[in-house]
Subunit: 445 residues, 2 copies
Amino acid sequence: MNDSPVRVGLLGCGTVGSALISLLQRQHDAIAARTGLDIAVTRVAVRDLSRPRDPGLPAEAFTDDPAAVVADPDIDLVVEVMGGIEPAGALVQAALAAGRPVITANKALLAEHGAELFALADRAGVDLLFEAAVAGGIPFIRPLRESLLGEPVRRVMGIMNGTTNYILTRMTEAGADYAEALAEAQALGFAEADPTADVGGFDAGAKIAIVASIAFGCEITASMVDVEGITAISADDIAFASRSGHVIKLLAVAERVETSSGPQVSAAVHPVLVPVHHPLASVRESFNAVFVEGDAVGELMFYGRGAGGDPTASAVLGDLIDAAVNLRRGAHASIGALAPARLRPAADAASAQYLSLVAVDRPGVLAAIASVLGDNGISIASMSQSGPDSELGGGLAEDEARIDLITHRTGRRQLDATLAALRSLDAVRRVGSVVRVLSDEDDDV
Amino acid sequence: MNDSPVRVGLLGCGTVGSALISLLQRQHDAIAARTGLDIAVTRVAVRDLSRPRDPGLPAEAFTDDPAAVVADPDIDLVVEVMGGIEPAGALVQAALAAGRPVITANKALLAEHGAELFALADRAGVDLLFEAAVAGGIPFIRPLRESLLGEPVRRVMGIMNGTTNYILTRMTEAGADYAEALAEAQALGFAEADPTADVGGFDAGAKIAIVASIAFGCEITASMVDVEGITAISADDIAFASRSGHVIKLLAVAERVETSSGPQVSAAVHPVLVPVHHPLASVRESFNAVFVEGDAVGELMFYGRGAGGDPTASAVLGDLIDAAVNLRRGAHASIGALAPARLRPAADAASAQYLSLVAVDRPGVLAAIASVLGDNGISIASMSQSGPDSELGGGLAEDEARIDLITHRTGRRQLDATLAALRSLDAVRRVGSVVRVLSDEDDDV
């Protein structure tokens, strides 16, 4: 122990905050032995002072005034785990402006105001670290911002929401339909009573905005992310995916594409048919994983717990130690200035696609559908037809057939024109799911 | 660009060195935009000056005297990718002693002399970074030494050798026997003409020595690692593993165990039956992966390319940028002093085990074998018998049966006593494979 204590002010003491206090107490001596630092939480801002708290900290450490913690001259570092954009944003800003390093787990805040907060931290010469904001306990942000800083990263895609991965896993492995799997996830506490942020893809959208900003060095906010959730995925889609050697995953995808006018980036969240042999396919239940493709490094995957008090506290603790070490050295990490993003227009996106249609079952229908695709320059990788009595025939009338097809790589414009043409065919009763397929052809992006 | 160039001296210009030169040239401007640093390789030590070199560097940048590169006052940083313990060790030592940061990919050197080199770097106040020495392109060392510094890590286990993973994958998926799979790996360039370092487990042993040292903060050298390779794994073992819901992987395992006299650590390399649903089971072909278990973070896995010029150069480049940034700030990273290791005696190890025996096929034999296990306090999880005409019966005489069994968690001493007792049974012709089984009971370690 070569120094005075590093005193941490904690904003928020829910699941993550209290897990952090316990973990830091348990590991205090081990951390001191490795770093020479005596790190301790000395002040904690809570919403409700009357709630009983874990022992280990004196009652006077707690306050219900987070601004007082940030302003306290006896605090060296601030950890923000209260969540939400305000008042967390103003508190983080005040701490940085006062020259205090900040560790935050707040994805919503960074996805909205990351660029200005990173710039503020750089001007103040202090750390703003946020490992826990993306993929919970998985140490992914540090490798991305440091180890891969020189890597030509082409694509980062991840299972960044545990709730939806749990629901899709149950649909795949237990044959549950969406409503059953959601109810089960809610009963187990994996999904909120109002599950919109998860199942609508918005939680993953905030995370991929942050990841895309770091990976490509430009400012991408949550509102720039194309978001589609899993609410429209049916048991039949899951069954078809399985029969064709895929599983359906909700992927958050950030891509960088070279165009004739320079590089463009995109960020999106959508369900994807993932080939069963792909490493992301074996990420089950509420686990998260992030898959990185770079020209030099090839393929990487980072796998672990995306949420939960202890895993998130582990990520916060790693950042906290790093910030404490930097503080004592007078150093700080920087992700550099974020340039304005040059977004790829959504209409320029291209990928293999899975389509399902319900059509009248009469001779020539398959040919008519195939010829619409051909006329629009879309090449078909596989096509299958199921009658009302077959495994995939749920909900079909006696005279109907379900047609599932997977295309080769197709541009969004072609696809939209094709869908319109298919809908106008007399024999097509409805177009069902339209889901991206992850395929080797993606390497052409 | 806020500064003079960071000039890199490169020791070794084989696959990794030349990939690094190309990658750095390609990414030079992107790195400058993100960090403000102008990083360039300016001197290169090669073995043979007469070999033609990639363009992009002037001929006078090359020398066949590596000591001259290390001693050059115009060099700011040294990258060592020549491999081997000497002369690489003396060169790294000279560079550190002269106050130059070193990035090395040299697992053999660090597994033997890591502790003294880390201490030397700390005394000199410079970086000694080595991401590329373990698991090639996978950014694992940085998360382990920084993100997980405060995490109570219980176990790190990995597929750290691509050659053996390729061989085992071919044996599993194509039904090849060991000799066929090795020959195939050699034909494809995945295995050396003398494959001992890989198939004997020694390459993975050096890597797990480094990982265990970082994970547990104590000095573990390659000679302290219990090493067993894959040469005794038969096609029948693979077939039995598959039938029982496992795949066989060569795992390098570092564990920390609490005992009544304090924590003990162990490091070993051995074949392991891994349950098919375990994330390590889906790591195929020449890919590597490292799986971490910690009390707070739960389970993590890092997956990617463990070897190859470009992935390894990617890992070196990440370290190089980090060291350059630190150099300009006057900072450096430290893993702290390594304490002497308190090794767990091999006889105290415990795990579930797979055993295969060949016995005379007569009534009562199974009962006799089961009772030897029972007498030694070993509980049997599953047991099966195969005759000479069955799938697993290869090599059996007409009067013989193969008996495969999986035990519950068993101490090494019990197991050794049991094996001796089994060998002394008249009816047992031979004891075949004895392979560790990864099971949930491992959590008791």
